[in-house]
């Protein structure tokens, strides 16, 4: 495709991708519905069974998947720009490791399943705080590379905690915890969807408001300072908002890997360069990607479901490798 053509079709394409993914996710499954039946069910008309399938089972699930994709996409795009690193993603700040520790501890202590997202969220926020503390203790003034290294170290530490806990936990708890870590939106409800929407809108909105600052930060700290920004303080605010959004998605559905890493590259591939459109585009592309990944997760091997995180990783890894070749 020529650049001029991409320039014209980019936004319709992204919006269409989300709408098409939503419609497919609502229509397809063990009971597949015709477009007319989907439309009737969405309006609350016709077959009551179809209404239940669409409004209670599939739609909240698809919307939750979309919100997770949108949150991880925005978060990843903001972090890559701010850290000036195409390999940055929210999980690397310790979000995933911390959330997993929180969830595994909750499961092994026999905490009720409804509190598992809260434990995961607390673990994620705590791990991000530790990551920042470690990076700060290393004596750097917000050096993104040190921050990424600190995130890796915190992640490794989290892994060892998880292994220690799982090694001594009863086997059904281990299964629950492992399943949770693989990511799933199977238990989606409207209330869960609503509170994730609040986090994604607030955090994503903040990142969007700072998107021109991200443009400036991506020029490097010295130039950002020359243009009137306090680079470290601005970057910290962006890291915090991005980590919060990612932590909320992890609390809602466990670990959905590679989305935050891959999605910004897809949108950049469509010729988007400045961060305001990049963040919006990453929200759309992330939403479409995770909705479709979840559709695949529940329809490829019925009646059992594949872990959502495994599907996104299987799609994400080859794509990312191809990007890596171009970056090299």
């Amino acid at each position: 495709m020529t650049t001029a053509l991409i320039d014209r079709v980019r936004w319709p394409l992204l919006v269409l991708a989300v709408v098409a993914a939503l419609l497919l996710a609502v229509a397809l499954g063990t009971i597949s519905l015709a477009p007319g039946a989907v439309w009737d069910a969405l309006l609350g008309r016709g077959d009551p069974a179809a209404i239940t399938v669409v409004l209670v089972l599939r739609l909240p699930r698809a919307v939750l998947a979309g919100l997770i994709g949108a949150g991880l996409g925005i978060s990843g795009a903001a972090l890559q720009g701010t850290m000036r690193n195409p390999l940055a993603e929210p999980y690397l700040l310790g979000v995933s490791g911390g959330a997993a520790v929180g969830a595994v501890l909750a499961v092994s202590l026999g905490v009720a399943a409804v509190f598992l997202p809260i434990a995961a969220f607390a673990g994620a926020v705590l791990a991000v705080a530790v990551t920042f503390f470690v990076a700060h203790a290393a004596g750097t003034r917000g050096d993104a590379r040190i921050l990424l290294m600190a995130g890796v170290v915190v992640g490794a530490f989290a892994n060892s905690v998880i292994m220690l806990v799982l090694g001594t936990a009863p086997s059904n708890a281990v299964r629950d915890a492992v399943w949770w870590m693989m990511g799933s939106v199977a238990a989606a409800t409207w209330s869960q969807t609503a509170w994730l929407a609040v986090y994604v809108l607030l955090g994503g909105g903040a990142l969007l408001a700072w998107s021109r600052q991200i443009d400036v930060l991506s020029l490097g700290d010295d130039t950002a300072a020359a243009l009137g920004l306090a680079p470290e303080a601005t970057a910290r605010r962006i890291y915090a908002a991005a980590a919060l959004v990612a932590a909320a998605t992890v609390a809602a559905a466990g670990l959905v890997g590679f989305v935050g890493l891959v999605v910004p590259h897809i949108v950049r591939g469509l010729g988007v360069r400045r961060h305001r459109p990049l963040l919006v585009g990453s929200a759309f592309a992330g939403a479409a990607l995770v909705i479709l990944a979840d559709l695949a997760a529940r329809t490829l091997r019925p009646p059992s479901e594949l872990p959502l995180g495994a599907v996104t990783a299987i799609v994400g890894v080859p794509f990312f490798l191809s990007r890596l070749r171009r970056l090299a």
Binding site: G81, R84, L219, D222, A225, A226, L227, G228
Partner: protein
């Protein structure tokens, strides 16, 4: 306009001060050049102006007030700075990059108004990169010389009454280097305070109104090109045998480093 008063800077863990009490000033309508050997503290001066290093003693003032008392955004409106190194992590077009020079005026949300568009157009033309912008070229595809001129355009778009440049003519060929110096001269005629960190002693001697020679974090000499460009001073600072002649065409002092014959 920009005044360094006994500025002392020491990097954490360093055994000596990067700047050990440096004082001079760069005024409107003048081209002030800072020269000196590698490691003499030139770039630290720029970093101190930007608040990127802790100033342990003395003060850097802009229009009378210490830089720490100006808001960062306010300072960026008055003083445009081109730092020594800059690598973009992600692609941007020339136009998008130069437009970021308006950030101090626009902030996070406001869209470009006609005054901003005019400033960008004007800057692109003056820096000689309007064609690169028109062709939609990406910054990553540019040659080293084109990139330097695009960075100059970004600083010009920023506007302001002072322009600070750290080694801006590295990678420029003779014609582009001369064009860049002529442009800096034009800016001083228009009343801009130009503070230039450079290794190009002979060009500096022809264009600068005042030269500040740094050595080991101290001012070794300061004054007109004739005052500073003296063989005895330069030989001591650069630790290399040299002669200072006079450019036959323009009459400015010219430095000629000598070859050292090694015994074999």
């Amino acid at each position: 306009m920009i005044r360094y008063e006994d500025v002392v800077v020491r990097y954490p863990g360093a055994s000596r001060d990067a700047l050990a009490g440096v004082g001079f000033h760069a005024e409107r309508g003048r081209l002030t050049a800072v020269v000196g050997p590698n490691g003499s503290g030139k770039s630290t001066l720029v970093r101190a102006l930007l608040g990127r290093v802790v100033v342990a003693g003395g003060a850097v003032r802009v229009d009378g007030a210490p830089v720490t008392e100006h808001g960062r955004g306010e300072l960026a409106k008055r003083v445009a700075v081109i730092t020594q190194r800059e690598d973009l992590a992600f692609p941007l077009t020339v136009d998008e990059y130069v437009a970021l020079g308006r950030f101090p005026h626009l902030g996070g949300w406001r869209g470009a108004r006609s005054i901003d568009r005019d400033a960008i157009e004007h800057a692109l033309t003056r820096a000689g990169v309007a064609a690169l912008a028109r062709d939609g070229r990406r910054v990553q595809e540019l040659s080293g010389g084109e990139w330097q001129r695009v960075r100059l355009a970004r600083a010009l778009a920023q506007g302001g009454e002072a322009l600070v440049l750290d080694e801006p003519t590295t990678f420029l060929d003779v014609a582009h280097e001369m064009a860049a110096f002529e442009l800096l001269h034009e800016l001083t005629v228009e009343g801009v305070a130009v503070l230039l960190v450079s290794h190009q002693l002979n060009l500096v001697a022809r264009f600068a109104d005042e030269i500040v020679l740094l050595h080991d974090g101290l001012v070794a000499a300061a004054g007109s090109p004739d005052d500073v460009m003296q063989a005895a001073i330069l030989e001591r600072v650069y630790e290399w045998p040299l002669v200072v002649t006079r450019d036959p065409a323009v009459g400015a002092p010219a430095l000629l480093p000598l070859r050292v014959r090694r015994r074999t």
